[in-house]
């Protein structure tokens, strides 16, 4: 059933007198199996006769099931990331102003009684869950946007999504239109993110050139920043302004299970919407026309990715403020292990996003804060930006050739 591989010995100008020389000369570095080898025989259908130079070497090759979506390498990366998430979750339950031993933390989590139970269940568990959910959502959003725009530099924060979501949510908070745990805040955040990502994808258009995309993202992020500044400027009272300012820095401190329950439906919806387009991300690697000719509905994909990203980023911003660059860093890190297939990257990118944000949220609890600081804790959004921006610069540096060559 395997197709026959016909190779003209003379055309290749190589010695194919035996199976060994055929394999080593015609396919150096071969990794597929050569199943049947027939040596130098005339092919009457091609009008070949006794002239040996016209004869063909013939073989069947078996590329094997795993080679079509190479490099696959099983699910080892995912397994390792899940184990890492479990370890970080335990660590996250243990670490804080009152340190707990692993045994105490697990016991507190299970029975929920005593001081340890209250600390673990009411304070640290929501925080840990939010770090996991938000990290995964941001990692997946980054991978999906990169797939849609065929561009490893795509990231919600560079498109002004968290900034616009912040503007929407701060408006709600500043004017006391809604309590901090009401659904109105994530809805305002989602609306902001929807406008910014939708606007960006519309401006970037069919060709999605790197330059246009990044410039439009810069403009949208600046505009959203200006709107937030305007809201702060006219905040009804200084406490509201201070509250918004700290909230904008991005933090998972003092979040309750109400926050988790409020954001969870939006996160799950975002994952489903983004995952439904996995095939489209892969086909888009060939450009929009080729993807469309493969049966991908480009407009629908674009709309779904915009909605999915806005749902996730808007809800994340509403509960945790602005946390950037997870969506840029996570897909990049896993690409080294699973290859560049934009569909294959999505799941490990989500897991890696969870790992990154959980690790960052543990780090902010360990780093000592100066006694004069107003904020009690270093904000996790500050940490992700401090690490993410140099990372982004390094990526720009390594992609310079691509950026310089990109049509505007």
């Amino acid at each position: 059933m395997w197709p026959r591989l016909v190779q003209n010995a003379q055309d290749w100008n190589r010695e194919c007198s035996s199976r060994e020389t055929f394999e080593s000369n015609c396919f150096p570095g071969r990794t597929f199996r050569i199943q049947n080898f027939h040596m130098r025989f005339p092919c009457p259908a091609r009008g070949e006769g006794t002239d040996r130079s016209e004869w063909h070497c013939c073989a069947s090759i078996d590329l094997g099931p795993r080679r079509m979506s190479k490099p696959h390498r099983g699910w080892r990366l995912e397994a390792a990331l899940v184990a890492l998430i479990a370890a970080l979750a335990l660590l996250s339950l243990m670490i804080g102003s009152a340190g707990l031993s692993p045994a105490t933390a697990i016991k507190g989590l299970i029975d929920g009684t005593g001081p340890a139970g209250i600390i673990v269940r009411d304070i640290r568990l929501p925080r840990t869950l939010l770090a996991l959910l938000i990290g995964a959502t941001l990692g997946l959003s980054g991978a999906a946007l990169q797939g849609l725009l065929r561009n490893p530099l795509a990231e919600p924060a560079l498109f002004g999504a968290p900034q616009a979501a912040s503007a929407g949510a701060s408006f709600m908070i500043a004017y006391g239109l809604a309590g901090a745990t009401s659904f109105a805040v994530p809805l305002a955040g989602i609306a902001g993110a929807l406008i910014s990502i939708g606007g960006l994808v519309a401006i970037a258009g069919r060709r999605a050139s790197l330059t246009v995309t990044l410039l439009a993202g810069l403009a949208l992020a600046s505009f959203a920043g200006a709107l937030t500044a305007l809201i702060l400027n006219f905040a009804p009272n200084p406490y509201a302004a201070l509250e918004i300012t700290f909230w904008l820095l991005g933090s998972l401190e003092d979040r309750s299970s109400a926050h988790v329950l409020m954001a969870l439906p939006f996160f799950v919806a975002s994952w489903i919407v983004l995952a439904l387009n996995l095939r489209a991300y892969r086909a888009l690697a060939l450009g929009e026309d080729a993807a469309a000719s493969l049966g991908v509905d480009i407009d629908r994909t674009r709309t779904m990715v915009v909605i999915g990203t806005a749902l996730g980023v808007g809800a994340a911003v509403a509960v945790a403020g602005s946390i950037g660059f997870i969506g840029l860093v996570a897909p990049h890190l896993v690409r080294r292990a699973v290859g560049s297939d934009p569909a294959r990257v999505c799941l490990p990118a989500a897991l890696m996003g969870a790992v990154l944000l959980m690790a960052a949220d543990i780090a902010v609890r360990i780093v000592p804060t100066p006694p004069s600081a107003i904020a009690i804790e270093l904000k996790v959004g500050v940490v992700t930006a401090l690490i993410g921006v140099p990372f982004f610069l390094a990526m720009i540096f390594s992609e310079r050739r691509l950026l310089e060559g990109s049509p505007s």
């Binding site: 396919f27 590329l63 079509m68 026309d289 493969l294 049966g295 297939d341």
Partner: protein
């Protein structure tokens, strides 16, 4: 040429704003035939190809296997029409095997792995185009000619009865131009209906079973290469003085100078 046409186009027009890019084209594609489309830049060749692949809204009638093209779902259509766009774009350093496997996407369900016949089709396309030795390499590390063959392998892997190739020989060296033309001819002679836009009139004359010539959105000629590629028509459409030379491989137009 007794076989029924697989793709029938009647009165097809495409407007861009108020401008008519494709103006009332009527064309039938027959199985087993390599049809080459020639025409000067801006004649509407790419627009016509994209309209045939249903990538552009158009007026007029396109009938695929007896049914109107609009009646097909995107995936059904993709199984029947393989389209190779200009330029051989690869945005990610995916492996050659993974790129060619994309050609099977219209045949498989969302999360389903490739079935045996999908794998066989991919292997066949890889070996037919001679790109099998690089199956594991990242497609972005290949040369232009090699990429063109990978792109063609991707289109062939679909095993669609219709193949539309827009300038598949663009920016290729002479050898790769011949390789690609032979692959297109082979695809046609295995029963496919192949329509390719080619700028090189000598290549068109040599490989085409049939040549259609486009000018300003209209078809101005349709027939055997020797009947279409005449010095008079080349002068009228391309503004180039040409002579026809009889060679061992048939009459070949030789371009002399611009008029």
């Amino acid at each position: 040429m007794s076989e029924a046409p697989v793709l029938q186009v009647a009165g097809l027009s495409v407007w861009l704003g108020t401008r008519t890019i494709v103006d009332g084209i009527t064309l039938d594609l027959l199985p087993g035939q390599l049809t080459v489309m020639v025409g000067p830049n801006g004649a509407g060749k790419t627009t016509l190809m994209r309209a045939l692949a249903a990538l552009l809204p158009s007026t007029g009638r396109i009938t695929l296997a007896g049914r109107p093209l609009q009646a097909f779902s995107p995936r059904e259509r993709a199984r029947r029409i393989a389209y190779l766009p200009q330029g051989h774009v690869f945005h990610w350093p995916m492996s050659v095997a993974a790129v060619v496997a994309l050609g099977r996407q219209p045949h498989i369900d969302v999360f389903a792995p490739l079935a045996d016949d999908d794998r066989a089709a991919v292997s066949r396309a890889l070996t037919a185009t001679g790109v099998a030795p690089w199956a594991d390499r990242a497609v972005t590390t290949l040369s232009g000619g090699e990429r063109a063959r990978v792109a063609l392998a991707r289109a062939l892997a679909t095993q669609a009865p219709i193949l539309l190739a827009d300038e598949p020989t663009m920016s290729l060296d002479p050898r790769h131009q011949l390789v690609v033309m032979e692959l297109l001819a082979q695809a046609a002679h295995e029963g496919g209906a192949v329509l390719a836009v080619i700028h090189d009139l000598a290549l068109a004359a040599r490989y085409a079973d049939r040549v259609v010539m486009m000018e300003q959105g209209r078809l101005v000629a349709d027939g055997r290469p020797r009947d279409v590629l005449t010095p008079e028509r080349i002068a009228a459409v391309f503004a180039v003085e040409a002579t026809i030379t009889d060679s061992a491989i048939g009459p070949i137009p030789i371009l002399q100078r611009p008029l």
